[in-house]
Every structure is written in C-alpha cells, then in structure tokens.
Amino acid sequence: MIQFHDVTLRYPTGYEALKKVSFSLPRGSFHFLTGHSGAGKSTVLRLIYRAALPTEGSVLVDGRSVAQLSRKQLPALRRGIGVIFQDFKLLYDRSVYDNVALAMEVAGHDPVRVPGQVRRALQNVGLLERMHQNPISLSGGEQQRLAIARATVNRPPLVIADEPTGNLDKEMGRHIIALFDTLHQQGTTLLVATHDLDLAAETGHPRIDMRDGGLIASSSLSSDGESLGEGA
C-alpha cells in the first residue's frame, strides 16, 4: 500500500528532516511510527498525503508515485486517506456534527446517508452527545477524538494518525487503539505516529522507529517480514 524508496526531504531552511528512508507497508497492515520529538514522524505522514514532496527518492501509494499525481488527481488520493492531524485541523465555525459531515460532503456521498454515518462515527469516539456543540467548547482530548471521528467516517482504505492520543488519558488512549484495531480487522491499512512507546508496545503491532530523520530497524518490524532501509 505504501512504499518509501530512499526518501530524503530537505526543507527550504536546509534542514534534512528525512535521510534516505525506505520502508514498505502492505495493504491491511497496522504499524506504529515512533521516535523522539522532531525525529521526522509527521514529515513521513505528510509525504503520504502529499502535503510535502520528497527532495530525493519516491513515495508510492497504491503503487503510484504521489509526486507524479496531477493537480486533478490529488483530491482522489486524499479522499482515499483518512488523516488525523497532530493539530487536529478542526473548523471552529460550525458544529461537531458539521465537522464530520464535511468529510462526507467533500467525498460526494449521497446526502441521505450522511446523518447515520456521522452519528456512528461520533458514537465510536464518545462524542454523540456533543453533536450540536461547537468544537471550541470541547476539551483538548475531546477535540482529538473529533478529529479521529472525521478521519474515519468515510471508512477510507488507509488511515494515518499523527499522535492521536497525545491529549488523552491512558484509558481513553486504549479505547482509541481498540477502535483502530476494529478498523484493521475490517481491512483498513493503518499507520499511527506516536511518541508513547508504552502504548505501542502494549498492542503488539509492528513498530517503525525513527531517530533524527532516519529509521532504526525494530525487532517487531523485521518479524513482520517488512523490508526496511537503513537509517542515515
């Protein structure tokens, strides 16, 4: 599903956020992406939904190089990926419900199907009662859960989560991971970036470990049979 081939990313400041990173995640897999603050986790995720382009190397999603997508093809790529952003990226000028419904509208879903599916997504993260509130009136952790609901409402084949439990207590964090597990069982491919090694360890899913823009081979990863490039 996702392949990185010797991907290097140098930001305009000259800073090399990724150094010859290579890995490949098969369809239907569930990986954690771990590393210290500034290791390059968010950068890896941004490359997948093409919020950034690699300086060198190539990123393939579903076998197609994202760098070569035309302006017209990009939206379709993104509609196929559910992204949970580290900074949530919620809209504070509309209700919790409308935030989730927007993802369905954008994807052009049949309007009659929207209410039921939105409600189910909100229920999954425990926000159904908050449906008519404005996200600004949600606590940090509640906003994070709203972001999760929006990313999953369309049931995209690929879900990418950036630090989805940073604002959640342990119990709620486990619940979210369980939700991801359910998606995984239904065939969704998942990649979850987190700095919480304990959380990743608990689940037993393979881990991709990063340090300063490079990968460090991880036991659980190799046991998963994935090809892994060397860190810089």
């Binding site: 939206p75 990226k89 927007l102 994807a107 229920q123 425990g126 606590s139 995209p156 619940h175």
Partner: protein
C-alpha cells in the same frame, strides 16, 4: 465510581469496540470502498445549489462588507449610467442640431425681386438642398425681436424696417460637406450681402462631446477597475476568513471547483445585486433630473428634453455588474487560493 458525564457512558468505554461492526448494514461503504470520482461529485445535482447557498450566506448574515461592496458596485454603475445618460442625450441634441443645419443667405437691402429669384434657382440646382424658404423683411424683424428678448423695445423705434430679404435652406446629411463651397459660390452672386451657416457650431459641439466621451470612457474604466479591486477585496476577506476551511477541505480531498465555486457565486451575486441597485438609482436620478431639467428649461425659455437609457445600455449595465463580480472573484481566487 462516579459516572463520567463528559463521556457518554454508552459508547466509548462500553460499546465502543463493538459498534464499528454495525457498519455491516451498509456493505457498499466498507473500509476499502472506492470514493466517488471528481466528475461524479461535481455533476451531482446538489453541487451548485450548495455552492450558491454558501455564497448567499454572508448576505443573509448581513455581512457589512458584502453589502457595502454591493452598494459600491451600485454607486459605480450608477455613475457610469448617469454618464451614459448624459452622453445619450448630448448625442441626441447634437444630431438634432446637425439635422437643423440651417444656411441663411442675407440679401442686400437694395436687392431686386429678379436677383432674389435667381439666387433661389441656383441654390435649388445644388444636390442635397431642401426646405428652401424666402424670409421677407417683416418676418425678419419678428425673429430679431424674439432673439433680442428684453432689448427688443429698441426695434419698436424703427420708423422704417431696416432689414433685407433673406433665404434659408437645409442640406441633406450626406451633402453637408458641400455647404462651405456652396456658401462661397452664393456669397459671390449679385445682390447677396452675406451667407451664414451653423455647421461650424455643430462641429464645435461634436468636438466637445467627443472629448466628454473620451474622458468619460477613461474615467469609467478607472472607476470600474477600482470597483473590481474592491470586490476582489471583499472576496479576499471571505477567503481569509475561510482560509482554514479551504486548507482543511483540500486535505479532505475536495476538488478545486468544489472549493472555488462558492467564491465565484459570491462575486457574481455582489455584481448582480449591485447592477440591480444601479438600475434603480439611475432610474430615480433620471426622474429627479427630468423635473429639474424641464424646470430649468422653462426658466431660461428653452425646450430641453431628457431621454432614458436605451435597452442596450441597460443590458450593458447588468453585464458590467456581473463582469465586475466575476473579475473580482477570479482576481482573489488566483491570488489567494492558487498560491
């Protein structure tokens, strides 16, 4: 344990893990189902309705900037309309004056009837001459009195009519350029004192109107350009206010058209509402001015007229409104959404 009211107890802790399986009731939407293509989304029957509703939103919310912009468009188009009104009427006056195109031949006081007839024949023989009339001295005095107004009392004192015979005629439009040659020829005939024709005046007035039209076009262009900038500003305002929304929609996979359509409709709405306002204002100004002009005409004893804009000009006004709105929208879109 105290129930956690902030987390509906039903879902996340207890039912959370099982509820996702409920999606089985909707097999088409399983995790892996392909999303709709761009074409399918954009041709969906609701797309334009949604975009238009979104565009109307700020007007319904009584957004000060949107209504101000609409008023500005209306005022600018009204200025344009008023200007057209002036030009249309000036042109009418000019062509009426040009139609007059009167040539007057003054005979010597000592002229003989023979000579008068001779001159009349020569004039008639020329192409394009119409309405040839002979003005007797009596008639000439009446006219002179009318012309002198208050001071005509002077003429009452004349013991003997001092005015000579004269001849008047007009020239057809296409032969007008011949007037000055004709005037010279007639002027040289025996018994003719002088020839006067007001073609020169018409030419001077036409020059003035041409200048007005030129200045007016330049000014209107500048004005409309500024208004397009104002429209573009208002839409920039909306874009900035919705910057996050646009960015997020991009990330959610929204198509370009899906994102831009509401802004384009917004510009169009502003332009059309502005044009409607301009039609109203120009109409009101017209009726106000009509009264004033007739009044003024009466006061100065001239018969003034004032026509309203022809249909084509009204169409141009509406077209300009729509164009202003669209140009403003595209200016903003290209500057702030495609960067």
């Amino acid at each position: 344990m105290i129930p956690r009211s902030s987390d509906p107890p039903s879902a996340p802790r207890s039912g959370g893990k099982s509820s996702p399986t409920r999606r089985d009731d909707d097999p088409a939407q399983r995790g892996g189902g392909q999303p709709l293509s761009d074409e399918e989304i954009l041709t969906s029957r609701n797309f334009h309705v949604r975009a238009l509703r979104r565009a109307w939103q700020p007007f319904a919310d009584k957004s000060l900037s949107h209504w101000t912009t609409t008023v500005v468009i209306a005022l600018a188009l009204t200025i344009y309309g008023t200007f057209s009104l002036l030009l249309v009427n000036a042109n009418t006056a000019l062509s009426r004056w040009e139609d007059e195109n009167l040539v007057t031949v003054f005979m010597q006081r000592t002229v003989e009837r023979e000579q008068l007839v001779q001159v009349g024949k020569v004039i008639k023989s020329h192409a394009g001459v119409t309405d040839l009339t002979i003005i007797a001295p009596k008639e000439a005095v009446v006219r002179l009195k009318r012309m002198m107004g208050d001071e005509s009392a002077l003429l009452d004192e004349l013991e003997e009519n001092p005015l000579p015979y004269s001849l008047e005629f007009r020239m057809a439009r296409q032969d007008r350029s011949l007037a000055s040659n004709l005037a010279k020829e007639i002027g040289a005939m025996p018994g003719v004192e002088s020839v006067s024709y007001d073609q020169q005046w018409a030419e001077r007035l036409a020059a003035v109107i041409d200048t007005m039209r030129y200045v007016g076009n330049v000014m209107s262009f500048l004005l409309l350009a500024v208004v397009a900038l104002i429209v573009s500003n208002t839409i920039k305002l909306t874009i900035i206010a919705r910057r996050d929304e646009v960015e997020i929609m991009r990330f959610l996979g929204a198509d370009d058209l899906f994102i831009k359509a509401p802004f384009v409709y917004e510009g169009l709405l502003q332009g059309l509402l502005g044009a409607a306002g301009a039609l109203l204002l120009t109409g009101m100004l017209y009726f106000g001015a009509l009264g004033a002009v007739l009044e003024l005409g009466r006061a100065f004893g001239i018969a003034l007229q004032l026509a309203f804009l022809p249909w084509t000009q009204l169409g141009v006004l509406v077209f300009l409104g729509a164009a202003l709105g669209l140009v403003g929208a595209f200016l903003s879109l290209s500057r702030f959404l495609d960067a």
